[in-house]
Amino acid sequence: MENWHTYLTGASKERQQERRGRWLTSLALLVIGALVVTILLFLIAKGVRLFTTGEGKLTEFFFSPTWAPGAGVFGAAPMIVTSLIVTVVAGLIGLPFALAVALAVTEILPPVAKKLLQPVIELLVGIPSVVYGLVGLTVIVPAVRQLVGGTGFGLVAAVGVLYLMIMPTMTSMAIEALQAVPKQQRQASAGLGATRWQTIHRVVLPAARGGILTAMIFGMARAFGEALAVQMVIGNAAIMPTSLQSSAATLTSVLTTGMGNTIMGTAANDALWALALVLLAMSLLFNLGMRLVTKKG
């Protein structure tokens, strides 16, 4: 009797293992959490300085169309608008292509297609921004100049470059999402006489919705944060874009252009950190919004 009691309530290797596992993984999460919180606090602290020192005003920052740090005018509206347009358009164009590739290799083509395409897709993630920028400069900008007119620099070229840059991430993650849908569900649907498209449309896509959303979020996040490549083709001028072919500048490109040339602690530098904070806030809103949409849909 006594033996059973100690056996069933006593310590064992398993308990130890479990405790250690829980401890190790929660430690990892804690480290990441601490890192995230530190960065967020760091950005908030740096980002609000422009306003707490009185150098910039909130209303001017969000609504003024003039960005002239040299003259002490900090209107971020043109960059906010541009960043939003460029990211959303690139994402909206990129998604159908990424989905199509993912569907083709998971649902339609033989497995060998995936084996061949996946390494190529993964390659593209590793091509440096500058190289994308150079391709944009030598291929996309002249093409836009021919097709749309103007100098070629501007929103259209930026969307083109970003589309190239976010495709690999989106495709790769979309493939993972589609593969996560159990085979049985496809078979069950096919067994009911559904065509391949009906199965894709009614079973596979709804089941993979969360994963596809994540793919989109990460793709667009990359677009939001990209600087060097965009900067080389968008015409990098901090003015409110009036048409798809006009020059503009994104939050990130202005931030990157100015960072090395400003002195820390001055209003011009603080303004750049404020841009970073805006970027963070926008991506947060964006993320929340997309979650809301998929929950409802």
Binding site: E14, A28, P128
Partner: protein, 294 residues
């Protein structure tokens, strides 16, 4: 049924058409980079050091640094991301806090590299006294890759059927063992995809490294295998310029007359390097998966 079949054919055509266009773009991009770059690649180019303002410099140091940095970064980032993903997927209660944390990690992924780079500079390089070093670079890159990596690991873990976990638990295994021995091997391909995507970003990242790992490579001794020696090529505390940073530098402020050649040659080398890295990572992953199942 007629209509459904017609629809099916139409949709299949559309999907294949779009996929074909995308594949064509992607393949021609890679081909373009290889065709413009490979003629500039020679044994000399691969094995000699870069030059400051004369032509004929190579990329040996940068190539090695890229590799080393990928390994260092993954060594920090993968365990962290995997650990966090295991906690999120296997242990954490599914409540608002967990979701808020997930969201916070994801939002991090849209920060521009330069912001992470400056954070790394102010915190790792200056505050922690790591100086311009591979380690500081690896930590900055860890931050950049954590969101995607954590997410990829979590997705991979969650794809393993719940039944497998139950079966393990039913045998009296602690959850940690179930996770390590049953779930993890089955999630490995997904985790690997995440790690490979991350490796790609590390290979290609420049802006975050300019302020952390730095953009110069000095006094590297490739015969010194002691990672604690200041000049050893293995020393994680030495500043190091990677291939992507070199491409960036050559294109922006480089003074060498053959900048275009070096840049496109380096890009081609980078592509081949990533290809080799990815293929061997997959090979290693499959081998590991087999080992873990024993």
């Amino acid at each position: 049924m007629q209509k459904a079949e017609k629809q099916d054919r139409l949709a299949t055509g559309l999907i294949l058409g779009l996929a074909g266009i995308a594949a064509l773009i992607v393949i021609s991009l890679v081909a373009y980079l290889l065709i413009t770059g490979l003629p500039h690649v020679s044994w000399h180019f691969l094995t000699s050091s870069a030059s400051a303002f004369t032509s004929g410099g190579g990329i040996f140091d940068q190539l090695f640094n890229s590799f080393y940095l990928v390994i260092l970064t993954l060594a920090v980032a993968v365990p962290l991301a995997l650990g966090a993903a295991i906690y999120l997927s296997e242990y954490a209660p599914q409540n608002g806090w967990t979701n808020a944390l997930r969201l916070a990690i994801e939002v991090l992924s849209s920060l521009p590299s330069i912001v992470i780079g400056l954070f790394g500079y102010l915190v790792f390089v200056l505050r922690w006294g790591l100086d311009f070093s591979l380690l500081a670079g690896a930590l900055a890159l860890t931050i950049i890759n954590l969101p995607l990596l954590t997410r990829a690991c979590e997705t991979a873990l969650q794809q393993v059927p719940a039944l497998q976990r139950q079966a393990g638990l039913g045998l009296g295994m602690p959850k940690w063992q179930v996770t390590l021995k049953i779930v993890l091997p089955q999630a490995l391909p997904g985790i690997l995809t995440g790690a490979i995507l991350s490796a790609g970003r590390i290979f290609g990242e420049a802006a975050a490294l300019i302020y952390t790992a730095g953009q110069s490579t000095v006094n590297v001794d490739y015969t010194n295998w002691n990672p604690f020696a200041p000049t050893s090529f293995l020393n994680p505390m030495r500043p190091a310029e990677t291939l992507a940073v070199h491409i960036w530098k050559v294109n922006t402020e480089g003074l060498i007359p053959d900048a275009a050649a070096v840049s496109s040659g380096a890009a081609a080398v980078l592509i081949l390097t990533i290809l080799i890295f990815n293929l061997s990572a997959r090979g290693l992953g499959n081998y590991l998966a087999r080992r873990l199942r024993k």
